[in-house]
Amino acid sequence: MIARLLPSLVDGVLIGVIYGLAAMGLTLIFGVMNVINLSHGSMIAMGMFGVYALFTGAGLNPFVGVAAVAALGLVAGVLVYAVAVHRVRNAPHLSGLLATFAVNMILMGLGTRFLSTNFRNVDFSLGSFALGPVTVTGTRLAACGCAALVTGLLYGFLYRTRAGKEIRAVANDRAAAELVGIRSTRVLALSFGLGTSLAAVAGGLIATLFPFTVLSGGTYELKSFVIVVLGGLGNPLGALIGGVLLGLVEGAVPIFLEASWVPVIEFALFVLVLLVRPQGLLGARR
C-alpha cells in the first residue's frame, strides 16, 4: 500500500509547495490590506507567459527566467495598486473585490485578444530519477525547490528587514503604524507588489511543468482560495501548509477513486473547513 501511495504523495507534495507559494501571494495581500485580490489568476497567467516569452524568445533557462518574472510581477503589482486598489483601500470589502475583478477582466480580455487562448508549452526537461518505487521528474523537483527558496526569502524579508517589519506592523494595525511614522501607502503598494510577484513566480514555475493558456490562471486562483481558507486567511505559513495538504489530496485521491473526484473532494474540504473551523487550520495571524 505504501509503495502504491508513495509516488503520488511525493508528486503531491512537490506540486503542493508551488500551490502554497501562489496562495501566499493572495493571503499576504489580504493580511495587510483586507483586499481579496481577484486579479490573482491573471497575475499567475502573466507569470506563465513571462517565463514562456523569456524561454522561447531569449532562450533563457526557465528557472532563471522566474527571477526576472518576480521583478516584473513586483512592478506590475505596484502599478495595479496605484491604479485600482489605492482608491478603495479604506472602502468596504466589496469595493476591493470589484476593483481587482475589473483588473482581472481587463487583463484577461487583453490576453485573449493579443495572445489568444491557444496552449503554450515551455519545452524544457531535466529528465527523471528513481528512488525505490518513486520516480521524480527533474523539473518538478526544481520547481518545488525554487518555490521553497522563494518562501524562505519571503520569510527572511518579512522578519529580518525594516521594510518587512513595516509590512507586518501595517498588517497588525495600520493606524498605530502610521502613528509611529510608517508611510502606510508605500507599505501597502509594496505588499500588493509582493503578493503579485509571488503569484507570478508560482505561475512561472507551473509553466515549466504543464501547458497553459491565458485563462489557466483561473484554475490556480481557485486552488489558492481553497488553500488560503484551509491554512487561515492572512497567514502565509498557513498558506504553505494548506498548499502541501491540497497537493497531498490531489495525489492521494486518484489512488482510491477516479481522478475526476479530486475537485469534488477539494471543494468539500473547503466547505467543511468554513463550517467547522472558519479561521483555518492555523488561524488568522496578522
Partner: protein, 413 residues
Amino acid sequence: MRRTLPLLACLFLASCGKDDSASKGQTLLVGYTASLTGKLSVESTRQTQGLSLWVERVNAAGGIKLADGRVLKVASKFYDDESNQDRVQELYTRLVNDDHADFLVSPYSSGLTSSASVIAEQYGKVMISAGAASDSNYAQGFQHVFQVYTPASRYLVGALDLVSATAPDAKKIAIVHENDKFSSDVAKALDAYARAKGFSVVLDEGYDSSTTDFAPFLNKVQQSGADAILGGGHFQDGSTFARQLAEKGVKARFLALLVAPPEPGFGELGTAALGVLGPSQWEPQVSFTAEAAKAAGVAWFGPTAAEFVEAYKAAHKEEPSYHAAGGYVAGLLLEEAIARAGTIDGEAVRKALESTDLFTFFGRSKFDASEAAHGLQVGHEMVLVQWQKGPAGKLLKQVVWPPQGRTAEPLVR
C-alpha cells in the same frame, strides 16, 4: 403602345435576369465555424485549411458543374468558435439566419459537432461533419448530418490487433482517455473489444478535458504494469500525456493515442514521440487510386492523393494531416452530391448524399441511410501510424497497420 411598352420592359428585364444567371452562374454559400483559438485550434486549423483549399480549387476549376449545364461558384463564411460549445450553437444559428448559408460543414470535434448538428437539423440544412467521429451523434435521429470520418468505435481496435500480432504475450492493457464524447465512445468500444479478444484491462479511466497534470495517471499506469497504454483524446492533452509519460520514464511496450500522433507537429516532441502509435483517417502514403475504385466497382471522384498533397503543400508549406484531408473531402463529398442532384435544393442534396458510394483520395465514403444510424460513415477504413526514426535519425511517421498498407514494420518500444 402605352400598354405594350411596360410589357416589353418587363420582358427585357426578365430576359436580362435569365441571361445574368446563365452567364455568371449562382453562388452557393458554405457556412462553418473553426476553432481558431482554444484547445482544439491545432486540429481545427488543419481542417479549415483543407476545406478552404477545396473552395479555392473548385472555383479555380470553374465551379460545381450541374447536369443541366449550370455552374455554381462556391463561397464560404466562417466564424471562430473558440473551441466553445455554446458559441457553436449561436454561430451556426447566425450562419443559417443571417448569412443564409446553403450548406453547412461541421466544426472540428464530436463535442462541438453535436451542438452544430442540433441547429442543422432544426433548420433542415445539410451538414457534412468533417472532424467528428463519435458514433452517438448519429443515433439521435438526425436526417441532415453526414459523417466523413470512420466512427469512433473503430478508432483503436486496429491498435489492439497490432499488439496481438506483434507481441502475443502482451495481455495487460491500460486505457486512459479524455472524458469527452468522442474519446469516451472510443474507450467504451475499445474496452469491449479488448475483453472479447482476451486482454486484461488493468486500468480504464477518464481524465477531464482541461487536465494538464497527468501525474496521478502516470503513477497508476506505472503500478498497473500494463504492456500497452491506449487512449488519449485530442492533440493538446495527447501530446502532454506522451511528454509526461516519457519524462517520468513509464515503460510500456505499446503506446497508442488518439488524434495527436497523426498531426505532423507531434514529431516535435522528439524522443517522447518515438514509437507512439496513432489511428489515422488518412495518410499521404496511403494512396487510393481510380484503378482500385474501379476494381471495387465504385466510382472515383476528385483529385488524386498526390495532387491534393501538392496543392496543400503549395498553399500551407507543410504536409497535410488527416484533419486537413478531412476538411477537403467534406467539400468534395458535398460537391459530388450537388452535382449528382443537379440542384442546390437541400432535400435533393440530402437524398443524393444518402445514396453516395464513391472513392476519393481519402478512401471510400458511404453513409448509413437507416433510421437507427442515419448519416454514420460505413465505407471508410482507418490506418495506424507510428513515429519511427528515419535513415538520418529524423523522426518519421510510418504506416504500420493494416499489414497490406504497411510502409514499415511496427516498432516495440
